[in-house]
Amino acid sequence: MQHLPPDLGASIFIVWHMGANVRGILPEVLNKLGVIKAANAYDKEPILPNRIYVAPPDHHLLIEEGHVRVTHGSKENRFRPAIDPLFRSAAYTYGARVIGVVLSGGLDDGTAGLWRIKSSGGLTVVQDPADAEVASMPENALREVDVDYCVPVADIARLLTRLSSQEISPNTEVMKDEKTKIEINIAAEENALKQGSFNIGVLSPFTCPECHGVLSRIMDGDLSRFAAIPDMPTLQIHSWPA
């Protein structure tokens, strides 16, 4: 972070897996290190360039047109905040303008979201698993997504600076699919049953070992994930097996 220029010209959104009961001190740490102002995001906060928005503890961070949402929707991938809802909503709103970065971490949060960014023309970056303290999140993303850049963490600031200054085609259409919209709305506290959550996957014979809801299989290209979708009868969306 300390190597990012103050005039980066982009906004940065961070989800960090943490327990609901911790203090959200990441912005304080980032502000000591870097030159771009970081803060825990608040709901409906406008999106400005050269700012770092951090998901506060126990809340999802989502992107909508021109502002962020900070919500208390159900957990995803066993976490709140989770990375997939952030990536999914960013890709749905800003398409090819999005760069998704997956860093060190356990299990597979971030993989489905990175796939969604890639499929709508955005760029994907993954920390080199050999460089990561916990390699499984980068490894899972690399296995399932045709990732654009795989670099050690020390090189990411330079890479982001270069990528954020690249021109993108003004004609790129943003993919607005119904499935992604439903999943974003559920994370944004909408009633999943009324959202038509039944329609985004195929009911499976499995139940979620965590919440005991019926699991549906959702396909993202060749990537299949199981979600105890919705309020359908289950509110919690999480990938399984994780």
Binding site: D58, H72, L193, C211
Partner: protein
């Protein structure tokens, strides 16, 4: 405190799940009665489904407003002026 508040969230989601099941079931039964040309029974079933939906909306509001608490969180909120 953390365990208790986490348990509350799980219980509220469990209640919503059961209520959603009852909505689906009542609508299913309503369709069945309508197909069998029993309109009064169908109407009652659909009405019960709608009422359950209104109750589940209340619980949804409760779970979205529910905070997972801990002593750290209390101290933090106190420092922030409540």
């Amino acid at each position: 405190m953390a365990s208790v508040t986490e348990k509350i969230e799980d219980s509220l989601y469990s209640a919503i799940r059961s209520m959603d099941e009852s909505i689906l079931l009542m609508n299913h039964i309503g369709d069945h009665y309508a197909d069998a040309n029993l309109p009064k029974l169908a109407a009652v079933s659909f009405k019960k489904a709608k009422e359950a939906g209104e109750r589940s909306d209340l619980i949804r509001k409760a779970v979205h407003g529910h905070e997972l608490l801990s002593n750290i969180k209390l101290v933090e909120d106190a420092e922030a002026g409540g």
